[in-house]
């Protein structure tokens, strides 16, 4: 079969092609005007916003094309007569099918390529080399070293039913009830759980990571704008799952952060003995049912 367009197909094909090109250009320009969450409070969030915009821009011509075909068929290929008539018997067109599959394959491979490069870039946080769920790495156990500029700030997110607390390994494992992050400093989040699976979702800073008991789940983020953010739980965790949120997360300047963490350390000194020492993860007692 050759890529010859039958005369009867030509007016439909040309009309559809012209409409599709025009509508797609308008559509792409329109969807690119939108500012996509999670906006630009962190480098990672900005990457996600850009990817969201790219995906929407790529989806627009696909959506417009198929919907246009459906509507066009409904208008122009509708049966006009009262009695049933058979349409022209077309059994298929190999070049068209090959072209459709080829174009969709190219689009998909392009998307996957963009996704992988975004992942692999330092911007989305060295995911490939991250310690991940490995239980022997990650987490600076008990270290109380002072913050060195340039080194990633180590913050542990501890989830439990039904709130998050945070421990700053670089500050003696101090435990806080809100998450404060210093501006322009790369942060390594270590997300873990005391009981069941939660998911740490800090919307505006573009972080989501499941909190698993006995697992140190690592996520990287670099704030680039000050402001507040919301923390929620994004994995069903029982009765008060919906209430497991905190609107007082903040990205603050380094000096504000130093003031804040000093205050936190002061408060923490009182309860320090009751809190287990900093570790990659924790197993509260009892661990066996009925014991």
């Amino acid at each position: 079969m050759s890529l010859r367009i039958e005369p009867a197909d030509r007016p439909h094909a040309i009309r559809l092609l012209v409409m599709w090109v025009i509508l797609s250009i308008i559509g792409i320009i329109a969807v690119l005007q939108i500012h996509y969450p999670p906006y630009d409070q962190t480098i990672q969030g900005e990457d996600q916003s850009k990817t969201l915009a790219l995906l929407t821009a790529m989806a627009t011509p696909v959506f417009i094309g198929v919907v246009m075909m459906v509507i066009y068929s409904a208008i122009y290929f509708r049966r006009a007569t009262a009695e049933l008539v058979d349409g022209p018997p077309m059994l298929g067109n190999t070049p068209v099918q090959v072209a459709w599959i080829g174009i969709s394959a190219i689009a998909v491979l392009f998307l996957a390529f963009v996704g992988v490069t975004t992942l692999a870039s330092d911007n989305v946080a060295k995911l490939v080399n991250a310690p991940g769920r490995s239980i022997n790495t990650g987490g600076q156990t008990g270290s109380a070293t002072a913050a060195e500029q340039g080194k990633e700030l180590q913050v542990q997110v501890v989830a439990q039913q039904w709130y998050f607390t945070y421990r700053y390994a670089d500050y003696g494992g101090v435990e806080t009830t809100h998450l404060y992050l210093p501006l322009d400093r790369p942060v390594e989040l270590h997300v873990t759980s005391l009981d069941i699976i939660h998911s740490f979702w800090a919307y505006e800073i573009g972080v989501k990571a499941d909190a698993n008991p006995g697992v140190d789940n690592v996520f990287h983020v670099t704030p680039q704008k000050t402001g507040s953010f919301t923390v929620r739980c994004a994995e069903l965790c029982g009765l008060w799952h919906g209430q497991m949120s905190d609107t007082e997360g903040k990205v603050v300047s380094q000096s504000d952060f130093d003031t804040w963490i000093a205050q936190q350390q002061q408060d923490y000194a009182v309860i320090q003995k009751a809190v287990p020492s900093y570790a990659p993860f924790y197993f509260p007692e009892p661990t066996v049912k009925g014991s």
Partner: protein, 623 residues
């Protein structure tokens, strides 16, 4: 159903049927509870409850008569391996263990529609609760129970909503067989579904279960006895999927009429064939994981307990290894329906038959390689993410083929805009949005924001409700004239379509926005600024429910208020199932038809009629 043999009066002395089944199920439950408590484990009676459900189901199946045949074989009594096809048109056959695939199809349809009503009421209660941003309408405990019941009930329904009623009823008719390959397995695949629904509903008495349909441990190990309903109910659905899967495969491979070559097989049968492969291979994985979960909950094994050496990732992997093929168990029969119906109403041959089949099997194959995209944020080894991102995005290629074949079939056609065709067009629109939103979730950077939010909830409702349920509605309007002998009113059907289409999109499209605007799934409270959108969704959901009631009204109206029997072939379709009389005779075909043409050969010069019904005698399909 064992038909007494005239030569022997030896037979079971007690009657079997639905009432006997229920009568045996009740003591079965209490014997199970008592047995379970004998072990004296520190398990909050979970062993008792699980065994109680299991014994009740066994009692129910025995009472129905599932033991009659094997027992008679064991004792050497004369039995009929395949029951004779007796003309029997009583209401009673719908309430007993019937081995007729048409009766089983109708039993399935009615059961599923009743379950759908309860699932939908659950959805209405959830939406009502979300009218206000705080939990003042429904307390969190009840809200989470509703989430669990709605989700699992809907999963039970959608696993079977096309495969069960339409698969069982139509596959033998469409391939020219007189019955399914294993009629008793077929009956079993249906009769475990009502107990599964009842056991699931029984979770209400234990306060429900808090996990939603994913049942993630350790939350599911922390949960009360309601969780046992989830375990036993899901195992029963897994049994239904395996039995119907092997039955469909055997039937389609071995029972096709002479001349029904693979390239003449209707697309709906291809869709069921692909679904059967998935059901057969995926459901055992679920059953295994559920047994592990039950053991964790009862006998203190620690498969999923990290503190004692287990891992909740084991569950997440097993569950989604089942769970992702499961969503294609929902949608592949729907693809089959769309590609089946469009040629009949476009009055054109299917455009690219072989390509369409390749598309179906491409989805089937790829569905095994994508499950970890549910775990992108869970802390899996990060090097795995690019692979699962690529494999997930690759699925859009075979899915795109389904769209290509359908759109190509409509090209320069003479489309008859009947109600089933409207639902097919609605499917194309809805599933397009569902499919595109899936790409957003498959891409790791965007999944960071969208995972576990209302966006993913909107995505799978677009594919399942907008896809599978729309296809199911098309199938109802298309095939019910053959199955019930009554045409559904086309006028009400048109109103139903537009009402449902608009209400559906108005319900679920705003959920994409809610997800992008930071609303997690399964929460009973949300940010106050999202109240307007949520209220909009709730009102639309009520309207969507109203459209379903209109459908129910149409069904009841056609069944009880329309006189006479529908004509045998109201759509003037070529395919085999429309060539048999309405109501379909007990043995489907007087003689096994000889298939001489394809089902979609519209407008082809010299196209032969689809089959020669004076054909061979006893060539296949039993006596």
């Amino acid at each position: 159903m064992v038909v007494p043999n005239a030569l022997s009066d030896r037979n079971l002395s007690f009657p079997t049927g639905l009432i006997t089944g229920i009568v045996l199920a009740i003591p079965g439950y209490f014997i199970g509870v008592w047995t379970g408590n004998l072990f004296g484990l520190f398990d909050d009676q979970n062993t008792g409850v699980i065994l109680g459900y299991a014994f009740a189901v066994i009692g129910f199946l025995v009472g129905l008569g599932f033991l009659n045949y094997p027992l008679a074989r064991l004792l050497g009594w004369p039995v009929t391996a395949v029951p004779q096809t007796v003309e029997e048109r009583t209401w009673g056959r719908y309430f007993s263990l019937s081995l007729d695939h048409k009766v089983i199809g109708m039993q399935y349809l009615v059961t599923i529609l009743i379950m759908l009503l309860f699932g939908a009421i659950g959805a209405m209660l959830i939406r009502t609760s979300l009218l206000v941003p705080d939990a003042s309408i429904t307390p969190p405990g009840q809200y989470i129970m509703l989430i669990g019941l709605h989700s699992v009930m809907m999963i039970f329904i959608t696993s079977a909503v096309i495969l069960g009623p339409f698969g069982n009823y139509l596959v033998p008719l469409m391939i020219g067989a007189r019955r399914m390959a294993f009629p008793r397995l077929e009956a079993l695949s249906f009769w475990v579904v009502p107990p599964a629904a009842v056991i699931l509903a029984a979770a209400v008495f234990w306060g429900g279960f808090p996990t939603g349909w994913t049942g993630y441990p350790p939350l599911s190990e922390q949960a009360g006895q309601g969780m046992d309903s989830y375990i036993v109910g899901f195992v029963l659905i897994a049994i239904a999927l395996v039995t119907s899967g092997i039955n469909m495969l055997a039937t389609i491979i071995a029972m096709r009429a002479p001349g029904m070559t693979w390239t003449r097989l209707p697309m709906f049968v291809w869709g069921i064939f692909a679904t059967a492969i998935l059901g057969l291979l995926a459901a055992p994985v679920l059953a295994t994981a559920l047994v592990q979960l039950a053991m964790d909950r009862t006998t203190n094994t620690t498969f999923f307990v990290a503190a004692n050496g287990g891992s909740n990732y084991l569950w997440e992997n097993l569950f989604w290894f089942f769970g992702h093929p499961e969503v294609y168990i929902f949608i592949l029969p729907a693809f089959g329906i769309i590609m089946e119906l469009v040629p009949h109403f476009a009055r054109k041959p299917l455009w690219g038959y072989r390509t369409g089949v390749v598309g179906l099997f491409g989805v089937t194959l790829l569905s095994w390689f994508v499950w970890q995209h549910h775990l992108f944020m869970s802390g899996i080894a990060p090097v795995l993410r690019p692979f699962y991102m690529l494999s997930t995005e690759l699925i859009s290629i075979p899915t795109g083929i389904i769209f290509l074949v359908t759109l190509g079939t409509m090209w320069r056609a003479r489309i008859w805009f009947s109600v089933p065709m409207l639902f097919c067009m609605g499917f194309l629109f809805n599933f397009l949005i569902g499919g595109i939103s899936g790409v957003y979730l498959s891409d790791v950077p965007t999944d960071v924001t969208l995972h576990g939010s209302y966006f993913s909830m909107a995505h799978f409702h677009y594919t399942i409700v907008g896809g599978e349920i729309f296809a199911m509605m098309a199938a109802c309007y298309y095939w019910l004239p053959k199955m019930t002998g009554k045409m559904l009113s086309p006028l009400i059907g048109r109103i139903h379509f537009w009402w449902m289409f608009i209400a559906f999109n108005s319900t679920f499209f705003p959920l994409f926005l809610l997800g992008i605007l930071d609303m997690p799934r399964r929460v009973s409270v949300y940010a106050a600024n999202l109240q307007f959108l949520n209220d909009w969704v709730t009102v639309s959901a009520y309207l969507l429910f109203g459209s379903m009631l209109l459908f129910a009204g149409n069904l009841v109206y056609s069944l009880f208020f329309v006189p006479g029997i529908a004509v045998a072939n109201p759509w003037h379709a070529r395919s085999l199932e429309w060539q048999v009389p309405t109501p379909v005779p007990a043995g489907n075909f007087d003689r096994v038809p000889l298939i001489v043409g394809g089902p979609y050969d519209y407008g082809l010069p010299n196209a032969k009629p689809v089959a020669d019904f004076g054909g061979l005698v006893g060539a296949t399909g039993g006596s």
